[in-house]
Symmetry: C2
Subunit: 473 residues, 2 copies
């Protein structure tokens, strides 16, 4: 009985699994903690290790790309099929700090396997998920008999993600021509659960601002003056309160303009996820759900924008009371955005909205910090369908769809390269990102290998859109 | 040409002016700073000095009353007319801290006279205003030929007013029988200006509370959870915003119930004051007026209740942003009350109101601290009319009416003794209470003497209400 393509892939992976895990273990031993300057040589060693391993995997081009911070790794393996689509894989090789003192049961930089789980800092976030691409690519080449990938394959593995990617946008802009791609595949996320494989189709964007309100030139006596002059703490509260109506809908005019609506198909897919709201509330450490009327909890966190107070302060903060009208108040707000909302337009909308909400005599300043665009890949996008199909073959079951409520540097790739971003991750919530005893489930890690072993051929075969080399924006 | 009663008083005051100022200077040299434990012996010395001086003035009963803090001085001089009304004068003999380092041009405890102003800590607040009662009383006796005052006269001069009068209520309650009076005259306030003598007819009351709101059990990620759980900072803002409607009227149901309305006569009197709103705004260090619709600025601060935010805090307070849903928020509120508003009822009203304003999942605690009742003497009260008349004779011009927006221990006297409180003060805004270079205008100080020289006889003659010895509540 001849092997099917899927069983051929599995056989190849089984054969190479031990070496793959040994190699990954070697990488995990390098404590590439980007937040700690003492580990800067380790971060560089991690980049060099990866570049060498990608060269060994067969990438004809590998490079260390310097930034004003930690180095990134770039690799490129063009397809022999000139017309094939170009795919850029994103991940990161730096890790969060970790030490036994934090509660690790074993040395976080001495990987060990226990009950089919690989424990080490970076096992899931993100070295494991970067590394499954290497064995997946080799399985793809071996089982198809190809000597080059079915797509033009590029990798960009940054070294500062755990430090907030401060130089990532500049890096992408600098190398935009080399990074040009038809799609970006981010392997730095997770899926619903061990038993519910999912693909993430988008992340929310982010606009952050700080609003300072100034009333009296100093704190003044609330008996002598209270009730006859505007109070900036009251004004701050009224401004914040005015952000939402009684249905928790944002009231700022134009805020929802242009939003790509949730399709019925996507709402159905989200509703099919085995969502346990009580369990979710426990993970949110919250005591009730609360949000925009007309949307489910998952829709609220994944597919609807928000206006959130991250901090508010004004007047007396000490013990007991102090009968003053305070001189000033400050509000820190963040707005999560969804596809169709442009951060710059939202900023302008807010700038225009604030003054009309303040009484005479309250002066204000508003300061916006860096924003992040939302990203969303439509369910019918052929690249997304290829990812879903490949994952479904690997897992042997249907694959659901999720979104991500947070915001990330993937949006920079989408923006600069003008390419859709897809999220292919096999991590599960119990993996303990940023926490002690981070692990990756070995079975899932190898499903990641298997998914990418199928993906490139599926993508090349089913993405009929003629490839147009893109001029990055 | 025989002297009129008024010119006889003036002659007496002129004759004794030098001694009066020498004596006052001696008292002002005692640094009776109640806030500084090192000055506790000085506060006691100040009390003893005053008691001795009141004995010398002729009071048959003088006493040092101990408290759990600094001592108070009590004096009593019954009238020979048994049916005369009983009046209790309130003031304080302690002073605010002061040192040359704060910006005094001369030693704050070495009084000196310059351009007809007496500079010293306590010159206006409150030793000068307590002391004018001594010479005024002697002028009263001398010019009427009486051997006892026309009213049963009591003095209570506390020693902790500048430290918040922590033991005053207990002191008054302990000695309520001895302090029983038909009216209380507080000489610890001011008047409109050098050229506009006024009598204050009331003070606002005060209720203070702190509301803590609790949302998630810890700060949580605003990307992962934002938009689907209640945010306590948002809830705090919405609670504060809900305190007022768009006309700056307090919305808490029942808040305005029972308020003694401003009469047309009082509104007219207030409107007649030479109020310069621009100048007032400068003193408020504010950039616009803002308050309850339908009321003038003076009405707002004197005769209308308020709901003021003294402090608000929640979430991230540092530099930059932090994308969290905060675990908690706290609001410090104070409510100024006017006659007819009972602090306990207002507290109950607020306790009842808060829960309905909070979303599910936001737990709260509310803590009320000590409250102060409002006090108000009607314009037609005979004692108030006597004060106004006496002051008018001293100043040689009509006397206006004000109120005080703040709240003070006078309310304890009103409450415990069940007696109306009248405010007889000659200080002006430029006197610099609590500030460097405190002074009192000598001309005004002597007008205070002159007012009290007339007051007791006027009160006895015109307060026809039969005297009923009061059983204090």
């Amino acid at each position: 009985m001849s092997e099917t393509p899927d069983s051929a892939v599995r056989t190849y992976i089984d054969t190479h699994r031990a070496t793959f895990l040994d190699d990954l273990g070697e990488w995990l031993r390098i404590p590439s903690v980007s937040a700690d300057p003492d580990h800067a040589p380790d971060v560089r060693r991690s980049a060099e290790w990866l570049a060498a391993k990608l060269k060994e995997t067969g990438f004809p081009t590998t490079a260390i790309w310097e930034t004003d911070g930690a180095p990134a790794v770039y690799a490129h393996w063009p397809s022999d099929d000139a017309d094939a689509p170009t795919v850029l894989v994103y991940g990161h090789h730096d890790v969060q700090p970790a030490s036994v003192a934090d509660g690790w049961h074993t040395d976080p930089f001495e990987p060990h396997i226990h009950e089919n789980r690989l424990y080490a800092r970076g096992a899931a976030d993100d070295k494991g998920q970067v590394f499954f691409h290497t064995l997946g690519l080799r399985a793809h080449l071996h089982t198809t008999g190809r000597t080059s990938p079915a797509v033009h394959l590029k990798l960009l593995i940054e070294g500062e993600e755990e430090s907030g990617s401060p130089h990532f946008r500049a890096l992408v802009e600098e190398h935009a021509a080399q990074l040009a791609a038809d799609a970006v595949i981010v392997s730095d996320t997770g899926m619903w659960s061990e038993t519910t494989p999912t693909v993430c189709t988008g992340m929310r964007g982010l606009v952050e601002c700080e609003i300072e309100l100034h009333g009296p030139d100093q704190d003044i006596h609330s008996g002598s003056f209270g009730g006859a002059v505007p109070n900036p703490a009251t004004a701050a509260a009224r401004l914040v309160a005015a952000l939402h109506d009684d249905h928790a809908r944002v009231t700022v005019p134009g805020f929802y303009d242009g939003i790509v609506p949730l399709t019925d198909a996507e709402r159905t897919l989200l509703a099919e996820l085995p969502f346990d709201e009580a369990e979710w509330l426990r993970s949110a450490k919250s005591h009730a759900t609360h949000g925009e009327a007309g949307y489910s909890t998952l829709e609220r966190i994944w597919a609807r924008p928000t206006a959130e107070v991250n901090g508010i302060a004004g007047g007396y903060q000490g013990a007991g009371g102090k009968t003053i009208v305070p001189t000033s108040a400050v509000v820190k707000l963040s707005f999560r955005l969804v596809a169709g909302q442009d951060p710059q337009r939202i900023e302008n909308t807010l700038r225009d909205w604030i003054p009309g909400r303040l009484p005479d005599g309250i002066r204000h300043t508003v300061t916006f910090s860096g924003s992040t665009r939302p990203c969303l890949t439509p369910l019918d996008h052929p690249a997304l369908q290829a990812v879903t199909r490949s994952m479904s073959r690997a897992f042997g079951r249907p694959v659901g769809h999720t979104r991500e409520g947070g915001s990330g540097p993937a949006a920079d790739l989408q923006d600069v390269l003008d390419a859709p971003v897809l999220f292919l991750g096999i991590s599960v919530p119990s993996d303990g990102w940023h926490a002690p005893n981070e692990k990756v489930e070995l079975d899932l890690l190898l499903k990641g290998v298997e998914t990418t072993a199928h993906l490139w051929e599926d993508l090349a075969a089913n993405w009929s859109t003629p490839h147009t080399p893109r001029t990055p924006s």
